[in-house]
């Protein structure tokens, strides 16, 4: 069928106008832009969105290794809710996380204050204090495994043989009172430099004039810290605490290497329980349910902290 020349011209003009409009809305290189973005979009979809959705689906199934999943609805979640070991793991996770983060916060502030003070070899001390953060966690945890060893560990050796502070060695990782404290201590040791270095950066951003003005007004050191330093660090503190809470909650290596969640589940935390359920029990659906159980709680924590930060900014 032939098309009149006038109509061809009208269509071309319309197409041209549409292209211009599209360019105006989407940008001059929108075709190339989409071309470049599309692979990333599919990359994210296939490597993040799909596995996450599939994991959620698997948590509703009875999935054994090498066998197809069988849908069981909320059975895994309900069973876990009544499982004593899971309940203890939840409590332990909170004790481990908030115990660690609280101490890391205090030590981080102390570290930052010390490193802003006029001390000799400040750069050297900054480097030294960063070692726990820089060293691979596995290496640190293996070292602490040896340090805490009841028979051959250096800690008991020092306390009993060198300083004669104790008549007999302590089973640091084998007694309920000390096992959790020991794994928390290692997490604190590993994590506080991150707090310290972040606060240090934050403190350097606080204008010196504020301190001078406070000093002129007769504020003591403590008052300057309370009314100048702390408010200046507020946002950084929230971000650091938020990040550390997430990282500590998901910390697997320290607990697994030091105690594997033992003795008797005393130090069992959620990531270790997830791992044990997946690779020990080899019940993959249930393992994912363990991992996803606290996702809403973590999400709420993050949302509350984020809202708090936004409020702070508005003020």
């Amino acid at each position: 069928m032939s098309v009149p020349a006038a109509q061809v011209g009208t269509n071309a003009a319309l197409n041209g106008r549409a292209a211009v409009a599209l360019r105006r809305v989407l940008g001059p290189d929108y075709r190339m832009g989409y071309l470049f973005v599309t692979p990333i979009f599919f990359f994210v979809l296939s490597l993040i969105a799909y596995p996450f959705c599939y994991a959620i689906y698997l948590s509703f199934t009875h999935k054994l290794v090498g066998l197809p999943p069988v849908f069981v609805g909320f059975e895994n979640y309900i069973r876990l809710a009544w499982d004593g070991f899971f309940q203890r793991a939840v409590v332990n996770s909170f004790v481990f996380t908030f115990g660690s983060v609280g101490f890391k916060l205090v030590l981080g502030v102390v570290m930052a204050l010390v490193l802003t003070a006029p001390i000799r070899w400040r750069s050297f001390w900054t480097g030294v204090l960063l070692i726990p953060w820089v060293a691979p966690t596995v290496v640190s945890a293996l070292n602490f495994l040896w340090i805490f060893d009841g028979s051959l560990g250096v800690l008991n050796y020092l306390l009993v043989r060198v300083f004669h502070l104790l008549p007999q060695g302590v089973g640091w990782l084998s007694e309920p009172g000390t096992a959790m404290a020991s794994v928390v201590a290692v997490n604190i040791w590993r994590g506080f430099p991150f707090f310290g270095i972040s606060f240090l950066a934050g403190m350097k951003a606080i204008p010196a004039e504020l301190y001078e003005a406070a000093a002129v007004d007769g504020a003591s050191t403590l008052q300057r810290f309370r009314h100048v330093t702390l408010p200046g660090l507020r946002n950084i503190m929230i971000i650091v605490v938020l990040l550390s809470t997430i990282w500590t909650f998901n910390d697997f290596q320290i607990v697994y290497i030091l105690t594997k969640g033992g003795p008797g589940g005393t130090t069992m935390v959620m990531p270790v329980l997830t791992y044990e359920t997946a690779f020990g029990a080899q019940r993959l659906g249930e393992a994912i349910a363990v991992a996803l159980y606290l996702l809403p709680a973590l999400a709420v924590t993050i949302m509350v902290l984020a809202r708090y930060m936004r409020k702070g900014r508005k003020r």
Partner: protein, 452 residues
Amino acid sequence: MDRRLTDLADQLAAGLIARREFLRKATVITGGTAAGLGVLNTMAHAQGPKLRVWLFKSYVTAGNDILARQVEDWAKERKVQIEFDWATFGDREQKFVAAIEAGNPPDIAEMNYQGPMRYRPALRDVTKLAKDLAAARGGLLPFAERVVQTGGQYFGIARLVFGGGLHVRKDLIAEKGLKMPKVYDPDVIEVAKKTQDPSKDLWGFGQTLNRSDDGNGFLQNILWDWGGGTWDKEGKPALATTYLKENTAALQFAVDTIQKHKIQPPGVMGWTDVHNNEAFMAGKLVMTNNGASLYYAMGAKKHPLFDKTQVILTPGGPAGSFVASNPYNWGLFKASKHAELCDDLVRWVEDEKHFEEYMKACSGQAGPVYKSRAEHPYWKTDPNFQGMLQNILRGVWIGYPGPSTPAAIEVQAQYILCDMGGRVVTAGLSIDAALKEAHKRVEDIYRIRSRG
């Protein structure tokens, strides 16, 4: 990234070439690389089939080296390429789970006793090969038969079982004029009390109940020793039902070694599988249960305690002396495209001449799973090997006195018995409460695994 691509990107950024030209040249480069890889792949295929072999890296390093060399010799002879991978105590099951779930298992792998039950859906039925090998070697020992075979079908080809026993400082026992212990109560308790000296950090007995293979093995053994067990004859949970009385006495004994008799070192409840080896070699223990790797390590290092150590039968209890003999075995995976080569490789490494070479390097760790291998003169070359051999020969399987089942394997893998002991020692639970708590977990596993 390919350097040519990086250069192109730099040129684009510097405005030297147009975006269109960048895309055209990048396409040519990536296409050329892909074609090159394809050619390389074809060349690799021309060199013969490739077999992915997973071996187990045990603490007996001499044995590991010999097995790897034997596999390489076979590959050279058959003109096959081998891609080795090693699994350790710490990552073996994780690797299997990941590979099977990804649909990419090896062609052949050295598995432990858990393999045939747990990975059955991915394993090839090897009944004919297993029966052929067993028939030529006088048949399988009973515990090995139970582990690799279910319902008349074989899903693993038994290879060896770790020898071991109670490692005892014979110099300290002789010093006090004592006899080697035969039962835990009272022999081990008495010997431990009379030989230990806590002021010098020397402890009579080193046996953790913590989450570890050592803890699992000890607790499982003593339940049997006291006439109890985790499973009844039908393979149903029996911890706090059928055998409640016996298990109560057994668990009480285990806890008493720490709390009442105080013959175990501080920190023993935090031990993993290596701690007792280290403590024994550091001269801090009089007795400890362990596999032959401890004896091997002392011999290989020419350790001063090597000559002062005797490996004896694992002590027993009122109902007898039981140990779990858990055989290692070859798993041949369904997904392999080289089934015949896998069969051939198994025949090669299980050939008696090759196995003998391996066994002799393993210092008692390569215990027999076939009847004829138990009669090999090697086992008479060292008095300590006799203890290890007799331990193996009287061994039972996980699940005893019932069948070996996926549920029985999972109870071991989840360290339920260790948690049971740990809950009494560290959380202050009563023996009865700990048994009931563990029983409930075992019932859960039984119910879930019964679904298939």
